[in-house]
């Protein structure tokens, strides 16, 4: 049996601000993980990553991260990616800070 492909999202950091961003289905970069495009096919995931790497004038360090479907959109699998959706645990800085202000 061939190994099943774990779904992915394309993630990176914003070139100017450094903030964590995700590639959406319509080719935008969102700051919200749940707006990312969930890539369930390996070949397509690789293509989307290639496209992201072509956005070098806006983003830095693009890579594929494991994700899973959730009620509001894709959710992170690994704790590292979960931290990246929020910010550090010692201060309410980063995305969680912005989330608290809306």
């Amino acid at each position: 049996m061939s190994r099943r492909f774990t779904p992915k999202v394309v993630t990176a950091n914003d070139l100017r601000a450094g903030d964590v961003i995700y590639l959406t289905a319509d080719g935008r970069w969102s700051r919200q993980h749940h707006e990312a495009e969930l890539l369930e096919d390996e070949a397509i995931a690789d293509l989307r990553l290639l496209m992201a790497l072509g956005h070098g004038d806006r983003v830095v360090g693009a890579y594929l991260a494991d994700a899973k479907p959730g009620p509001n959109g894709p959710e992170p699998v690994h704790f590292r990616e979960a931290f990246r959706t929020r910010g550090p645990s010692n201060y309410a800085h980063g995305k969680q800070e912005a989330a608290a202000n809306v």
Binding site: D57, G61, P88, N90, Y91
Partner: protein
């Protein structure tokens, strides 16, 4: 204190202008990230998990009050109102925007600071004993030599592309407060008769393969230092491995070739190049030494301090932990803890930085130091002023009396910030500090060094913690390995792994079992954890960490 020469000033300004151009070219797309990355790293700019991070060098841990105020200004204007002091005597800003970094570097240059050589395979920021120039036990102030090494190594053509990064630490005292035995080169200033010289150690380092440095020269005359260092680095450049990043540090070169062979090669190279050093370096050193002349110490009567101690128990508790002997009887060295229980080790808010700068101006001849243990030091305070200093620290929330105790933890940024991390370290440190405060055992336990790293790179020095904690990723879950018996002092030792790792929630209970066992086993209050561990060996401590296994084996 050391002031930039015109050369330094022009050099730093040129680098800022150069970097401004590089950032512009990155933003307009003419530089790719592959091209830009090494350039930003050369200027101390990293990309972490949530943002960029700017690492600013604090050479030999010495800061002037105006520099501290400028760091506070930068924190307010371009970051989130705080900075993180690290084990490498740097300050890191965790939230700068790429577009602001050239301005930040300009603001640093305004106070003779920079972020050069805080990254890359070059000779890094030279670290020194944080009590340098003040300690009662020092043979000589190590900072002039640290500055000489900085000048010699900055942009030294031969040493910009070493096999790997290269770290030098120096102390002027036999008591090792600079962890010189865990550095690529460690230097200790020693006296032989009426001659000043250096004890030279080589091949120490932490990270993936922790090793304690070995003595390559027991006594090196003062004038031979630069040629000898150059010979060591040249030998390393020749013998060091570039094929494998994990084998590229000098510690591996020394280990694989053996200290005798490495010494022989170094001594041969030294003999060859020594005649090229005509003494110009010693003239430069004399000039630098003059700039590090001690301040004009005030001659005040320490009696008011003794009187205040007798009536103020808070002052007494703080003084017992925070003061170290100064070379002048009527002065003391004050360590200001950045480890309030529950706070992030090493973080200071901009307000705290300003309070410290003001205290330095009013009571400390304008001088500050940053320790590798992530605290701030007022190196010269007249004893008569200590009650005032304490009162002002209290008001600023900076009078935590825990220096050298359990909660005086070194913790690296770990997975809260660092892109290389395998687990978090900061919340483990916060949790330990608040837990042991809550159960009231911290003072009872006494002297203890806990050090935490969020991955095998060991930026938190966990190998040399009496208790070391290493955060790992085990199948997608944070897991913490505990090492015991490490020591970063002149009795340096690498800690031993105690056994299987602990889940995030199990770490604090495990450390509590370990320390309750220590309290039961120690001969007296005077026997610290590390002393008891040395006397008894690991067995009883492992039994406390793993009670189930101990029962099963019974």
């Amino acid at each position: 204190m050391y002031n930039y020469s015109d050369f330094d000033e022009a050099f730093v300004r040129a680098r800022v202008a150069q970097f401004r151009g590089q950032v512009e070219r990155r933003l307009d797309g003419s530089l790719s990230e592959e091209e830009f990355r090494p350039l930003r790293l050369m200027n101390g700019l990293y990309l972490q998990l949530h943002a960029y991070m700017l690492r600013v060098a604090i050479p030999y841990g010495t800061l002037r009050s105006d520099q501290m105020r400028q760091l506070a200004m930068i924190a307010d204007r371009w970051d989130k109102g705080y900075g993180h002091f690290t084990t490498r005597q740097n300050i890191q800003f965790n939230w700068p925007k790429l577009t602001d970094v050239p301005d930040i570097l300009g603001a640093l240059a305004d106070v003779q600071m920079h972020a050069i050589q805080t990254s890359g395979n070059c000779i890094r920021n030279v670290t020194a004993d944080h009590f340098a120039g003040a300690a009662a036990d020092e043979v000589a102030d190590p900072r002039p030599v640290a500055e000489l090494i900085r000048q010699w190594s900055t942009d030294h053509a031969e040493f910009q592309f070493l096999p790997r990064k290269f770290k030098i630490a120096i102390t002027g005292a036999a008591a090792d407060r600079a962890v010189i035995r865990a550095h690529d080169i460690g230097l200790q200033i020693v006296r032989e008769g009426d001659q000043i010289g250096y004890r030279v150690l080589v091949g120490g380092g932490l990270g993936r393969t922790p090793l304690i440095g070995q003595v390559i020269r027991a006594f090196l005359p003062k004038a031979d230092l630069l040629p000898y260092l150059e010979a060591i680095v040249a030998t390393y450049n020749l013998l060091g491995r570039r094929d494998n990043k994990y084998k590229a540090r000098i510690k591996i070169t020394v280990f694989e070739n053996g200290i005798e062979a490495f010494r022989a090669a170094t001594e041969a190279e030294f003999a060859r190049i020594r005649p090229e050093f005509t003494g110009v370096d010693q003239d430069i050193l004399a000039g630098i030494e003059a700039q590090f002349a001690p301040p004009a110490f005030r001659n005040t009567d320490p009696a008011p301090f003794a009187a205040a101690l007798a009536v103020d128990p808070l002052l007494r508790a703080w003084a017992e932990r925070s003061l170290a002997p100064h070379k002048r009887d009527n002065h003391a060295i004050v360590t200001v803890s950045l480890k309030a229980h529950g706070a992030t080790p090493g973080d200071a808010t901009s307000d705290q930085m300003r309070v410290l700068a003001d205290l330095a101006d009013r009571y400390g001849y304008g001088e500050l130091r940053i320790s590798h243990e992530q605290n701030v030091i007022l190196p010269h305070v007249a004893k008569a002023d200590l009650p005032n200093v304490h009162a002002e620290l209290l008001r600023a929330g900076l009078a935590t009396a825990n220096v050298g105790l359990l909660s005086d933890i070194i913790a690296c940024p770990g997975m809260d910030y660092c892109a290389l991390a395998t687990a978090r370290s900061i919340p483990v440190a916060q949790g330990l500090a608040t837990h042991f405060k809550a159960i009231g055992l911290e003072d009872e336990i006494g002297k203890l060094k806990i050090k935490i790293s969020g991955c095998i790179n060991a930026c938190g020095h966990h190998h040399v913690g009496h208790i070391g904690i290493l955060g790992l990723d085990r199948a997608g879950v944070e897991n913490y390995q505990i090492t015991l018996g490490g020591d970063g002092s002149e009795q340096a030792a690498i800690g031993e792994r105690a056994g299987p790792g602990f889940a995030y929630d199990e770490v604090i209970p495990a450390i509590e079992r370990l320390l309750r066992a220590y309290l039961a086993l120690r001969q007296s209050r005077g026997e610290s954890f590390i002393d008891a561990y040395r006397r008894l060996g690991p067995a009883p401590f492992k039994a406390a960490l793993y009670p189930q296994e101990a029962r099963d084996a019974a």
